[in-house]
């Protein structure tokens, strides 16, 4: 009745007219959001490309086009390639271990806390809690716990017999580990909850049938749980990958990229070029490279993993 299909009779045949399909009001409902998105994402990307061909400094109002100078600087200058390669390396190491911690530990915790009783529910809520606090704020708490002289971690290690206080954030290798501990603590509750809700969605029948066939719990995990969790793992992998590549807050609060650039991740490097060195021209080149890397790796991981994902029938 509400359908507005009209029809006319032509030469004794019913011919349906196209219903009134298009509505301008629908279009205008979508428009504000789309315009704002274009203004805050697409236009800045275009502007970023534009800046990458200029010699714009943060402090100056004018600029000139210098062609590919910044791109040549990016790939040939010694300081650039040194810092660039370093930041890529640090970012990838961080990303690798952060994904390993979030997914690995998250899966273990999901199994451990997979009991639908009230105490377990309360414990799950507590483990999820760090997620609600800003990473920068959590960073201050960990900065205090990792403090060399008075930090609780070194003091507890003292009881365990480690008399020399460890310089958690001043030592190159340890600094990144400390950051990984912070971000792992912050994020593992989330992956645990995601894995848990996926575990609850797996039918008990699979386990019952396989145990009748004599499958061990380990075999069940390997051949039932893991394959059926693969869509969840893929989702977590991609989201954790993207968020790890964009890591900034924890590094900014904990180490400020130091010691000697050993925790300088890509976003931090871009920020340093733009706001400490005032070289937004160079920063925009690095930002564009970062963007391309992000796009390529995201697209290819989606492709590769899509083939190996099992979807529940």
């Amino acid at each position: 009745m509400a359908k507005k299909t009209r029809s006319v009779e032509v030469n004794g045949r019913q011919i349906r007219l196209r219903p009134e399909r298009y509505s301008w009001s629908d279009f205008f409902m979508a428009l504000p959001a789309v315009l704002l998105l274009v203004l805050t994402t697409y236009y800045p990307i275009a502007k970023l490309i534009n800046i990458s061909f200029t010699d714009w400094r943060l402090t100056s109002r004018t600029y000139e086009y210098v062609g590919l100078k910044n791109w040549i600087w990016l790939f040939t200058s010694k300081t650039s390639t040194k810092y660039l390669l370093n930041s890529i390396k640090v970012t990838l190491i961080y990303t690798f271990f952060n994904i390993a911690i979030d997914l690995g530990l998250g899966l273990v915790l999901a199994h451990l806390f997979n009991r639908l009783t009230k105490p377990y529910g309360a414990m799950r809520a507590l483990i999820f809690m760090p997620r609600y606090i800003a990473m920068s704020t959590c960073g201050i708490i960990f900065l205090w716990m990792f403090n060399t002289d008075y930090g609780v971690i070194n003091r507890m290690l003292e009881w365990a017999g480690v008399q020399n206080h460890i310089n958690w954030l001043g030592d190159g290798k340890l600094a990144l580990t400390s950051i990984l501990i912070l971000t792992g603590w912050h994020g593992v509750g989330y992956s645990m909850m995601i894995y848990l809700s996926a575990l609850l969605g797996i039918s008990r029948d699979y386990y019952e049938a396989s145990s009748l066939d004599g499958a061990t719990p380990l075999q069940q995990f390997r051949y039932i749980t893991l394959p059926l969790l693969s869509p969840t793992s893929l989702f977590l992998f991609i989201t954790t990958f993207i968020s790890s590549m964009k890591v900034y807050q924890s590094v900014d609060v904990m180490t400020g990229g130091g010691p000697r650039q050993q925790t300088e991740v890509m976003v931090y490097y871009i920020y340093r070029l733009a706001f400490d060195d005032n070289r937004i021209d160079r920063a925009s080149v690095v930002a564009l490279l970062f963007f391309v890397v992000l796009l390529i790796v995201t697209a290819s991981t989606m492709r590769i993993t899509n083939k190996n994902v099992h979807y529940e029938a």
Partner: protein, 285 residues
């Protein structure tokens, strides 16, 4: 018979004890940093930097909190954060709901193309665009203003995507019935679509709240005036509150940290069920 049953039961029970012990231990480790924040915020300076480790202060000190409130414009920071968060929640939800309706139930030319534009925006993070965005905001003179902070989180393609998924699940017959009754588009939107998709709307609203309250990167870039700092950036300044030097006045810093996270925990306590189920639901989409 009885004996056999209890004997059979004992083994899983030991397993459960071991498991619960492990679960409790992990929970304790995970909660410890938050406990340490609370405990430190109540200590005196000598308890923080003394030669022995103090787990809980002998006399809890509340003066650390008054120190923080007097040392930095703490309530101003909180007000700034609340204002920007409210602005972002309002625009993100309003624009998101409207766009989600258009993309799920609407009919207009270029619908698919525009939706691809929305989805594509998800691939362009702020960490890539912050330099041009900074210049744009500076050129229109919105540095260190609420609008300048707001713009970077004014609309979220993820919100549009999630709401669209939910709206698509609403049967067309409800909308048609409302149209027959002469209800306007906005009426349909806010009297039918939103109430019918309440769980998703609440999830999206809570996520927007969390993102606003915990926002750090962009406010740090765009706010140069101390009075306009958001809480996340403002409390970082506590670390250098003694003449710019990095200091170990952690009893006071932790008091500031604790005060800044209280609103989040209040929301967390009220909406705990929604938040946990909402987060996982969002992931399953």
């Amino acid at each position: 018979m009885m004996k056999k049953l209890t004997k059979h039961r004992r083994l899983p029970r030991i397993g459960l004890i071991v498991r619960t012990a492990a679960a409790v231990m992990i929970t304790v480790v995970m909660v410890f940093p938050l406990f340490w924040m609370l405990s430190t915020s109540l200590k005196t300076e000598s308890e923080v930097m003394g030669s022995t480790l103090v787990f809980w202060p002998s006399v809890p000190q509340l003066e650390n909190f008054t120190y923080v409130i007097n040392k930095v414009p703490f309530f101003r920071y909180m007000l700034n954060t609340a204002v920007v968060t409210a602005m972002q929640m309002a625009s993100e939800l309003l624009l998101g709901i409207m766009a989600a309706y258009a993309f799920s139930k609407g009919r207009f030319r270029g619908k698919h193309l525009l939706f691809i534009v929305v989805l594509g925006a998800m691939m362009i993070p702020l960490q890539v665009t912050f330099i041009p965005l900074y210049i744009m905001v500076a050129q229109v003179g919105m540095m260190s203003t609420y609008w300048g902070i707001w713009i970077a989180g004014a609309v979220s393609s993820y919100t549009i995507f999630l709401l669209r998924q939910a709206f698509m699940g609403v049967d067309d017959s409800y909308i048609e019935a409302a149209q027959v009754d002469g209800m306007s588009k906005l009426g349909i939107l806010f009297k039918i679509m939103v109430p019918m998709c309440k769980p998703t709307v609440i999830t999206v609203a809570l996520t927007a709240f969390m993102n606003g309250w915990n926002n750090y990167f962009w406010p740090k870039v765009i706010v140069k005036e101390q009075n306009m700092y958001l809480l996340t950036v403002g409390i970082q300044k506590l670390r250098t509150s003694y003449g710019g030097e990095v200091t170990n006045n952690y009893h006071q810093i932790m008091a500031g940290v604790l005060l800044s996270v209280i609103p989040v925990f209040i929301v967390f306590a009220i909406f705990q069920k929604h938040m946990l189920s909402g987060f996982t639901k969002a992931a399953m989409k």
